[in-house]
């Protein structure tokens, strides 16, 4: 094969690899940013609520874990999309 053509193929391969890495980084990284902000808000609000009404503590704790898990799952949606981009597509 012509030398220039081989170089072009190698370069496209490298670019594809770079794109996959960027996909994984963006999926995992931005997902973590969003979920981190969300989890911070949840726990902050729970502390606020419990200090205002300590007698509601048990009920608030239960809702807190529900919200925590739902928010945390959003990180995994990003991560799964990133892993798909990096290893499967």
């Amino acid at each position: 094969m012509h030398i220039a053509l081989i170089t072009v193929f190698a370069v496209t391969e490298e670019i594809a690899k770079a794109g996959k890495s960027i996909g994984l980084g963006v999926g995992g990284g931005l997902g973590a940013v969003g979920a981190g902000v969300g989890i911070g808000i949840i726990f902050g609000k729970v502390i606020e609520a419990v200090t205002r009404q300590p007698e509601m503590r048990d009920e608030i704790t239960q809702i807190q874990w529900l919200g925590f898990a739902l928010t945390e799952a959003c990180f995994f949606y990003g991560l799964v999309a990133g892993l798909l981009a990096a290893f499967i597509v």
């Binding site: 874990w65 898990a69 799952a73 991560l79 799964v80």
Partner: protein, 296 residues
């Protein structure tokens, strides 16, 4: 020795050990191409029976199912008037499932009807998550030979870290709440009930399609939430517990990451395993309650 002194000693051992290993082996290593961390999650067929072939995931599934039913039946058979510690713990879990998960999100009648399903779901997911953190001799790729006997090396794996098992559970949940909604309101009534009251005309059509889509997305979100949580937990324990050091060939990195592996392991066992089972059961109860509720 006080707790503070003990902590300081442990920290000193950690730092000194790290420095010694860096001094002995250096910070540069050669990349290990032979080691494939993704093979930890590969399913090798052990007994070939066509589509009913037995592999690692099937074994974990069976263990979880047997453990769930056997332990609960055993404890229920020998209930004492004055409960011992195990019975108290089970009663707390029962209370949680009955009052909070089922009772808190559904009407009295629905809760009584669907409590066995939700309870079984909760316990099954809890058990399959928890046995995923016990090292079992399942890794047939790397075998240890002791006196001529081939013993599979110990590894961590969870049935719920495989996409298909959460997917089946989510599909069962989806069909349950659709079936329950259709039984309560009739097919036409159920589809009409998807649109919130007071919305009319073209807007109602658009919202109807959105609601159908969001109902279908529930399968996806239930599946991925459980699957990705457990998989990511196992992956990070794997990498912190030595896979990163083996992959990059740097011994000091293994020493550095081991404490994180222990911490993450404790976090996963103590919180994530139970939390994911709780979330799955709670969302099931919310969906079931929402499907029969009069106004959306």
């Amino acid at each position: 020795m006080s707790t503070k002194r003990k902590l300081l000693v442990v920290l000193a051992i950690y730092v000194v050990g790290f420095i010694v290993i860096v001094a002995l082996t250096g910070t540069h290593g050669t990349r290990n191409e032979a080691f494939k961390p993704q093979n930890e999650f590969k399913l090798d067929t052990w007994v070939n029976l066509g589509i009913f072939s037995i592999n690692k995931a099937v074994m974990y599934l069976v263990i979880a199912a047997v453990l769930t039913s056997a332990s609960m039946i055993y404890i229920a058979r020998r209930m004492h008037q004055r409960p011992n510690r195990v019975q108290t713990a089970v009663e707390v879990v029962y209370q949680l499932m009955r009052e909070n998960i089922a009772g808190g999100n559904m009407s009295q009648q629905m809760a009584a009807r669907w409590f066995p399903f939700i309870g079984a779901l909760f316990l099954f997911i809890l058990f399959s998550n928890l046995i995923g953190y016990i090292p079992l001799p399942t890794n047939t790729e790397h075998e240890i030979t002791i006196f001529g006997a081939h013993i599979p090396s110990f590894s961590l794996y969870a049935a719920t870290a495989n996409l298909s098992i959460p997917l089946v559970l989510a599909l069962v949940v989806f069909f349950s709440f659709t079936f329950e909604g259709i039984r309560a309101k009739g097919p036409i009534g159920y589809l009409k009930g998807l649109v919130p009251g007071g919305v009319t005309g073209g807007m109602a059509v658009a919202i109807f399609f959105l609601e159908v889509l969001s109902n279908l997305m529930r399968i996806l979100s239930l599946t991925i939430r459980l699957f990705a949580n457990i998989l990511a937990g196992h992956l990070i324990i794997l990498f912190m517990g030595g896979a990163l050091a083996v992959l990059l060939g740097i011994a000091a990195l293994g020493w550095f990451t081991i404490p994180f592996a222990v911490l993450l392991f404790a976090f996963e066992v103590a919180l994530v395993a139970a939390l994911q089972a709780f979330i799955f059961a709670t969302l099931t109860a919310i969906y079931l309650g929402g499907a029969v509720a009069e106004d959306h």
